[in-house]
Structure formats: C-alpha cells, structure tokens
Amino acid sequence: MTDSSAGRLTVEGVSKWFRTPRAAVHALDRVSLDVQPGEFVCLVGPSGCGKSTLLDILAGLTAPDEGVVSADGVSVQGPGRHRLVMFQESALFPWLDVFGNVMFGLKRERGLTRDQKREIADHHLDLVRLTKFKKAYVHELSGGMKQRVALARSLAPDPRVLLMDEPFAALDALTRERLYGDLQEIWQRRRKTIILVTHNVREAVCLGDRVMVMSPNPGRIREVFAVDLPRPRDINSTHLAELSQRITTALKTYDRSSDGL
C-alpha cells in the first residue's frame, strides 16, 4: 500500500527551549538530520539530551522554536497518520480488548470496508504473534505482549514512519531480546522508516542502520555511527559489542564535556 519511496524525514536547524518559572532549559540546539525512506535510525544519549523531545517534534506533538521538520517534503505542522508513535508504556486502552486496540487507528481510515479493516487488524496481530490473544484484555497481558500489541496498533494504519520512544525500557532482558528479533523481522518485511529513541547503546546498535549519539545542555547530535553488521543481528555478538563499546566511549566523552559547560 505504501509507496516504497515514502517515509523520508528531514530536520533542519531545529532548536527548542523549555521555559519554567525558574530556568530555561535548552532542550535542542540546531539539530539537523536526514532520514532515508525505510531507514532505521536510533537516537541514543543520557537523560536530558533532548532525544525524546526530538521524537515529539518529529511526531508533530511538540512544535520546534526554530527550524523546520518535513516528512516527504511536506512541512510537519502537527500529528499526522503517516507518522505514528509507540511509547515506553504501551498506553493501550483498557476498555478495549486486544483486537479493539489494534483496530483503534483503523477505525478512522476512509476507503476501507469494515471487513478489510478487520482483516488488516488480524494480519497485524498475526505479525506480532498474538492471534490467540485477540479477545484478551489489556491487564491480562505481560509487559512484552503489551508492547507487541502497541506495535501492531501502530503498524496497522500503515504509517510511513514509526517513531519509538524507549519502547523496550520497561521490559526484562529476555523479553527485550526476543522483541529485538521480532522488530527486525517486521522491519525487514515492511520497510518502514523507524526512529527509535533509547538510552541502551547495545539496543541501538542491534537495531539501527545508523546510531546518532546525543549529548545534553544543550541537546545536540554529536556523532553518527553507521552500523554495517548483517541482519538479523544478535545482541550478544562480539562485533556488535565492539561497536557498542566505541559508542559508549564517545557518549562518556560528550557527557563529561557537557558537564563542564
């Protein structure tokens, strides 16, 4: 359904300040990046580096104070159905069952019949291997299952870009590793543009085509690492560990230098 060339994101000179009565926090300072259609980009950095703010701006949930964000050449003025967000907490709706949650974003799609929508929802439940839990309620699911439902809910309306805000942070290590595999597989099949925010360097290296390292005060992109490892990647491989090591060292350097400011 999606045009394979769609899903390009361009950020030019974006700055953002948060003003509180006591201080102005410079959350983002002239951030620029260019994400290709179908690319998987990870943003890593310590808390306060503005990575989540950048994701919110990409989503259109927050407006930048300076600079321009465009998606497929069109300036981003607000949330749009081509850029969907997955949050750290699954934020599933407890009053709907699993199927209802996956249907949520589809309900407003025009040009699809009811049966087509149900079919799409079923397909995405299958994609995250939760067909058996179609009628389950949210509180009956484990943390990993919730995030898989949230993934299906975000993918079902067929967005061009998927924005993920630390989606695995609240999960245990084993569940997380399984989801890395799932996500890579789904991404390879569906070729969405994905921007994933995390503070876990290994996770970033395991998933991303590129890893962008950010530092706080003010939030900036300091260095970009291309990850040329073959897929699917295993988080425990030595090549992956080596690159993670280099990125972690870089992160520490920037963190120290920004502390001095």
Binding site: P79, R81, F93, D97, R108, Y137
Partner: protein, 257 residues
C-alpha cells in the same frame, strides 16, 4: 451457592431475633409489630395494588429527574473540564452545592413550584447534578495524558477523541459519580415525599408518612423494606453491569458474581 446460603441464613437469623424481641421484651406491638404483621401488610398491600402504584409514582419521579440530572451534570462536567474559567466558576458552584444536603432544596422547590410534580423533579435533579458534574470533571481530568497523546497521533481529535478515548477512559469516575448522584437523588426524593403531600401522585414516601399518622407500624416498617429493596434493585440493575464491565476490562477488584 454457599454465599446465598450464608446471606439467607443471616437474614433468617435477623427475623428470628426480631420475632423473639416481640415475644419476650414486652414492647408494645404498636412500636414493634412482629414480622408476620409486617409480612401480612406487605402481602395485602401488594394484592390491592397500593405498593405497586406508589412504587411506580416514586420510580417515575426518580428516573425522570435522575436522567435529566445526569444529562445536565455530564454536559456541565464536560464543559467544566475543558476550561479553567468554567472550573473556577461552575465547578466551584457545583462543589458548594454538593455540600448542601439535597433535602434542603425542598422548601425552595415548594415555594417555586407549589405542591406539584415539578417540585419533586426539581429536588431530584438538584440532588444528582452536583455529584455528576464533579465526577465527570475529575474523571476527564484524571485520564493519563498518554491516552490523549496516543489518540492525537492516531488522528483522533475533537468529537472522535471525546467519544472513543476521553469518556471511556473516564468511565470508572463517571460510574462512581452517577452512583453517588443516584444515592443523593433517592434520598432527597424520599425526604421530599415524606415532607410534602403532592396531589398528583401518591408515592412511597407518602405511604410511609401515612403509616406514621395512622400509627400503623406494620405499614411503616413494610414500606421501609420496600424502599431498601428498590434501592438494592436499582444498584444491581443500573450500576452492577457497568462495574462488572470495568472490573473485567481494567482488571480491578474481585469479579462479582
């Protein structure tokens, strides 16, 4: 099954105690009639239709007044939740009025509407509106902000967001507010019916008060029992389904049988 036995046993024991009190305590049957006298009254009043017609009059007032109250309360509550100005005006007023026991509206209602159905409806509406306004307002404000963010990114805005996200998310608050509104409405209507004679309809409250005037204690206790039963039935019929729905979906509380 076991629970039914326990409940049945408890009430049977209570009735036995009551019977024993009438037999051995030496109280005048005018003050405490034996259970069978009350049962006889209930049986007779059921057969001749007195109880049924009084219950219908009362329930009609209650249901009409309550649904108007809920409709007004919800609309006001939603409006209040969207604006700070409305919250510090209408919201504060609702909070203030809620502290007023709803029976205190009866004198005013009588002066405004006379001894009419209008006065009864007014009391019921004023009794229920306040708590519904406050519950709706609190409910829609206490929704985790992440739900609204998800809705926004999924393109759900305005009316769609309200009906598919905000109201369902606020459901636990809405139901408890409606329940409280119901309790207030029921109490204020009973107070009003005991307090004033309305020529257009003879409700349960009147039946209770006439029992007192006639010193017919069997009637007084019998009508009290009917009032309790109606209150319980309303709770089971109107609210229990919603509560079961929420417990199942939200995973809160123990499932009710």
């Amino acid at each position: 099954m076991k629970r039914t036995l326990v409940v049945g046993g408890f009430f049977a024991g209570l009735i036995l105690l009551w019977k024993a009190a009438t037999l051995y305590m030496g109280w005048s049957p005018l003050l405490l009639p034996p259970p069978e006298a009350v049962a006889r009254y209930l049986w007779g009043a059921s057969l001749d239709g007195t109880l049924l017609s009084a219950s219908i009059v009362t329930l009609k007032r209650l249901l009409i007044g309550y649904f108007i109250g809920v409709a007004i309360g919800m609309a006001l509550g939603l409006a209040v939740s969207t604006s700070t100005l409305l919250q510090s005006t209408i919201g504060a007023l609702a909070l203030g009025l809620q502290t007023l026991p709803s029976v205190c509206w009866v004198p005013l209602a009588l002066l405004w509407f006379g001894q009419t159905e209008g006065a009864m409806l007014f009391v019921v509406i004023m009794g229920s509106v306040g708590s519904v306004v406050i519950a709706t307002d609190t409910g829609t404000r206490s929704i985790p902000p992440i739900y609204a963010r998800v809705a926004r990114t999924m393109g759900s805005e305005g009316f769609d967001k309200w009906t598919r996200v905000i109201l369902p998310a606020a459901l636990p608050f809405l139901v408890s507010g409606m329940k409280q509104g119901w309790a207030f409405a029921w109490r204020s209507l009973m107070a009003a019916e005991v307090y004033v004679t309305i020529l257009t309809g003879f409700g349960l409250g009147h039946l209770l008060e006439y029992g007192r005037e006639l010193s017919a204690m069997d009637q007084v206790i019998g009508v009290m029992i009917v009032i309790v039963v109606i209150g319980l039935a309303a709770d089971k019929g109107l609210f229990a389904p919603w509560e079961r729905f929420m417990h199942r979906r939200w995973g809160t509380g123990a499932p009710t049988s």
